[in-house]
């Protein structure tokens, strides 16, 4: 009876991936506890609830076969796009950005869903045209990608836009867009940087400039980076110990339980902790790439690859910004930062990976 229940629960779960995820989430909880001052369990309990919800979503998605997911791709994408337009028209403004839509019973942030919807819909599109993918198809894919990215950039939410763009770009890249075109695009991108610079908001430009020289503005935008690097650097090789980070516990690290939680972790657990975390991420990404490599359909391959690489981008962008080598964009540290929305989209992504990994035989037979 118990074994049957276990079988029911674990049938669509990928073992190696799940173990890595659980370890990372557990690590995240300990850091969230420390980042909330180590005096109350409120944040840990809150994050535990977030994990429970996201894990349930993972399980549900893992139990949906890839074919069904493919059929859902267009409806999800369309709904997401409509909601994004809704945000642009009626969205709530918080902290100077229009990202939230009030649906009456709850407020949602549709841009999050797009991190999943975009790779799904692009993978679906390339799957349909797999016999002969022409340059025109890449153009269509580019439009499908550009629409949500453009809407999110306008909110403005550079971090999310970047991740949506990455998720879509990975699909296009994996679908085999020729190196020549890629090189041309890259060159054009570089050439249009000045144009892009002109389109950036003042605060976004400041962030880039601050990255180049944080000391320029030590009490303003540079403060985050300076204090975060002090925290990480002062952690040394073995760290100051759990709950003992002075930068973290005395509030010098800003947004210490969300975007800058790596500073808390790096201070308290040192280089050893950072390497452990990177190792966990490498395990997750490696397993994801393996699943993608062994997936049986184009849709499954592209989706799995894009979801995995997007996850990697997530982790890299956050670690890069907190350690001061990338500009500050609002990207949390995946599965460690406090917060439910990002966690939900990440675990749903892994749900898709598990679905692909566990439904393989059925499809290929």
């Amino acid at each position: 009876m118990i074994s049957r229940a276990f079988d029911f629960l674990s049938r669509r779960i990928d073992g190696p991936l799940m173990v890595s995820l659980v370890l990372t989430l557990a690590l995240g909880l300990t850091v969230v506890y420390s980042a909330s001052g180590g005096a109350s369990f409120d944040r840990v309990l809150g994050q535990g609830r977030n994990i429970a919800i996201a894990a349930t979503a993972l399980w549900v998605v893992a139990n949906i076969p890839p074919q069904a997911l493919m059929r859902l791709a267009v409806p999800i994408y369309s709904a997401g796009l409509v909601l994004l337009i809704g945000v642009a028209l009626f969205g709530e403004v918080r902290n100077g950005a229009r990202r939230w839509l009030n649906l009456g019973f709850t407020t949602v942030q549709p841009s999050e869903a797009m991190k999943i919807a975009v790779p799904l819909v692009l993978a679906w599109y390339f799957h349909r045209h797999q016999e002969a993918i022409k340059l025109r198809d890449y153009a269509v894919a580019a439009i499908l990608l550009a629409l949500p990215v453009g809407l999110v950039v306008r909110q403005p939410d550079l971090g999310t836009a970047l991740l949506i763009f990455a998720s879509g770009f990975f699909v296009i890249f994996l679908a085999g867009l020729s190196w020549k075109v890629l090189a041309t695009l890259f060159a054009t991108g570089l050439a249009s940087l000045p144009l892009l610079w002109g389109m950036l908001h003042d605060y976004q430009r400041r962030r880039v400039l601050t990255l180049l020289d944080p000391s320029e503005d030590p009490l303003g935008a540079g403060y985050h980076i300076i204090q975060a690097t002090i925290a990480i650097g002062s952690g040394g090789v073995l760290g100051k110990g759990w709950l003992n980070g002075t930068q973290a516990q005395l509030d010098f690290v800003p947004e210490r339980s969300t975007d800058f939680i790596l500073a808390v972790f790096g201070e308290e657990f040192g280089l050893a902790g950072n390497l452990l975390l990177i190792t966990l991420y490498v395990l997750i990404v490696a397993r994801g790439l393996m699943i993608a490599a062994n997936a049986s359909t184009t849709f499954a391959r592209l989706t799995a690859g894009a979801v995995t690489l997007t996850f990697f981008t997530y982790a890299f962008v956050n670690m890069g910004m907190v350690s001061g080598i990338l500009p500050v964009v609002g990207v949390p540290l995946p599965m460690v930062s406090y917060g439910g929305t990002a966690l939900l989209s990440i675990l749903v992504g892994f749900g898709i990976l598990m679905s692909i990994s566990t439904h393989k035989q059925l499809v290929s037979s």
Binding site: I230, G233, G236, T246, L250, A293
Partner: protein
């Protein structure tokens, strides 16, 4: 569409996909490699540097202000003490609208108009981020009332602070001085002394008198506390503490009871009195009337009191004992007599005839004696006892101003006594050189004649007069007046005596000194100018009266006190020491516009001598209303 083709296509597509996946994976690894390098850079290579920065972030060194040393009189009576009290302070930079906030505050606890004015004044004088008191000496109840409402008052803080108090109020105010808030000039001085670190956290500094001059002893050494602070600057916990070291206590030479007796003896008169121990130069009493209440300055004086003190015609802030420069009048006659004997210009037996005036050869204008008709035949002894002006007109003429200058310089005239508090003025001992340098004019013979009776250009401070009479009493050895005789180490309680400054012997023969002293004793006996004031004293007093003109009188004009406005009346002076056979106290009294020395200044001196030598309080018999002229 054949199956084979599809399979081949699929295989080709799979190959492309896997190849792309490989590339992506390798790029990801490379990116992670960059991150690892970055972490190694931060956490291994630069770790030390960041550790230092993190420590600097969290550790704040807070100064712990030492207790200021006490000031005790010669009998251990406290003249300046500390007490702890609550103050309510405002940091203006943290308050949006200070005036409105104070208005709100006044609904919670009482804020007097005086408090507001003082706060405003402090605000003008200090920087925006300094914490300034709006209310001092809060009661426990007021502290509680404020605490309940404190959330409404950001930038307001209750602080427990040490305050200075001067329990004797305006008694000895000029000697003890006061402390006040550190101003820009003080900051400059502190920087010059390299004491900036020691003054971190200190708000007050000695400004005047002993408080000012002995600031170094009184202040103590500031301690420090290493405190862990959070990003908002709030103290979380103390890490370590270096205890401050309290300032040293000062044992002062003053006898506060004697001081009080002296100040009371002045009644409503303005003036100064300096009483010294002639052997050591210890200042027993240092009076400058009117005084002021030094307590007013402690938490910042309010503008009304400040203006009152500054604009008063009585100049209560001026320390007359050190800074009042007056013509010494006839009080210098004993010294001139010594000069006459020392230079051989006069013998004790030599007499002159005083017809009531003296004529300078070649000048038609007569120099008048204070006594119409003159004193008749006068020798050196009598010249002092009756204060014969004519005798000294001729003597001064014979000595010449430069010889007078040389002789008087030995007694300290014309230079600072070197008393151990600041602000002393040097007076003026005129000479031909001085006049040339000052006015580019040559010295006239007539100038010397006025100097002979302590008028003209000659100016002396009461402190100088006291020091010079102490030199007489001391058998011709000069003394340096001092207000602090010992320092008690705050930590060891050990008392370190300050050695008495070695005096210099004045070039006078003992027998000459005895002659002059005998004459000074007779000044206070029947027939002398201070007879009345000395009546019934069970000890011998040696003294000399003096009267100093405030406005130059036209010659031939009869000087009538009643007609001249009070402020233009003569200053009354008296110098004395007692007991004359074994001097224990030497003093100089100056009463501004007091009339004659014998009638106004000598009775004050008598009260002080009585108190010091007999320990009893006697009311001085000062002339009431119309002072009966008792001579010079």
């Amino acid at each position: 569409m054949s199956v084979g083709l599809t399979l081949r296509d699929q295989r080709a597509e799979l190959n492309v996909f896997r190849q792309r996946l490989m590339v992506a994976g390798l790029l990801a690894l490379a990116a992670l490699g960059v991150l690892v390098v970055r972490f190694v850079w931060l956490q291994v290579i630069q770790s030390e540097h960041f550790h230092t920065l993190a420590e600097a972030n969290r550790i704040s060194v807070v100064p712990v202000v030492p207790n200021r040393g006490l000031i005790l009189d010669r009998n251990g009576e406290v003249l300046a003490a500390n007490y702890s009290a609550y103050t309510l302070e405002i940091t203006p930079s943290k308050v949006e609208n200070v005036e409105r906030a104070i208005e709100e505050l006044s609904k919670v606890i009482e804020v007097a108009p005086r408090d507001r004015r003082r706060f405003k004044r402090l605000q003008e004088e200090s920087k925006n981020f300094e914490s300034l008191p709006i209310r001092t000496r809060l009661t426990e109840e007021e502290v509680a009332k404020f605490a309940v409402n404190r959330y409404r008052f950001p930038g307001f803080e209750i602080k427990a602070r040490l305050f200075r108090s001067y329990p004797h109020g305006d008694i000895a105010s000029h000697a003890v001085g006061y402390i006040g808030r550190i101003n820009e000039a003080d900051v400059g001085r502190i920087e010059e002394q390299g004491a900036t670190t020691n003054y971190k956290g200190t708000n007050h500094i000695g400004k005047l008198g002993i408080e000012g001059a002995y600031e170094k002893e009184l202040h103590g050494t500031t301690g420090s506390e290493r405190v862990e602070i959070d990003a908002g600057g709030r103290a979380i916990r103390a890490l370590s503490r270096a205890e401050p070291q309290s300032g040293n206590n000062l044992m002062v030479t003053l006898d506060i009871k004697l001081q009080r007796a002296a100040e009371e003896a002045f009644q409503e008169y303005r003036g100064a009195l300096v009483a010294l121990d002639p052997k050591t130069g210890d200042v027993l009493a240092l009076v400058s009337k009117p005084g002021f209440d030094p307590n007013l300055f402690v938490d910042g004086i309010d503008p009304a009191n400040w203006d009152a003190l500054n604009s008063s015609a009585d100049k209560p802030l001026n320390n007359r004992a050190l800074r009042g420069q007056y013509p010494p009048g006839s009080t210098i006659k004993p010294f001139l007599a010594l000069a006459a004997l020392a230079t051989g210009k006069r013998t004790p037996e030599q007499t002159i005839f005083d017809p009531g005036h003296w004529m300078l050869p070649g000048v038609s204008r007569p120099f008048r004696d204070w006594k119409p008709g003159g004193h008749g035949t006068v020798n050196l002894h009598k010249s002092i006892v009756v204060s014969c002006d004519t005798y000294y007109y001729g003597l001064a003429n014979d000595l010449g101003v430069d010889a007078i200058h040389r002789f008087m310089t030995q007694f300290g005239f014309g230079s600072r006594t070197g008393v151990d508090i600041d602000g002393e003025l040097a007076g003026l001992q005129p000479s031909t050189d001085w006049k040339w340098q000052r006015f580019k004019q040559r010295w006239y013979a007539g100038d010397t004649i006025s100097v002979g009776i302590g008028q003209g250009y000659w100016l002396a401070t009461p402190l100088q007069l006291a020091a010079s009479v102490a030199t007489l009493a001391n058998g011709g050895t000069s003394v340096r007046p001092r207000l602090v005789r010992a320092v008690q180490d705050a930590r060891t309680q050990e008392v370190r005596e300050i050695p008495v400054a070695q005096g210099e012997a004045v070039a006078v023969k003992p027998e000459h000194l005895e002659l002059v002293k005998a004459a000074m004793i007779d000044v206070t006996r029947p027939g002398g100018t201070a007879t009345r004031a000395a009546q019934g004293a069970p000890y011998l007093i040696a003294g000399k009266t003096g009267t100093a003109q405030v406005v130059a009188m036209k010659s031939g004009e009869k000087y009538d006190e009643k007609r001249v406005r009070e402020r233009h009346r003569d200053h009354a002076l008296f110098i004395a020491y007692a007991p004359a056979d074994d001097p224990k106290i030497a003093l100089a009294v100056l009463v501004e516009n007091g009339g004659h020395g014998g009638s106004t200044a000598a009775p004050i001196a008598r009260a002080v001598l009585d108190f010091h030598l007999l320990g009893k309080r006697t009311a001085p018999r000062l002339p009431a209303g119309d002072p009966e002229a008792e001579g010079d």
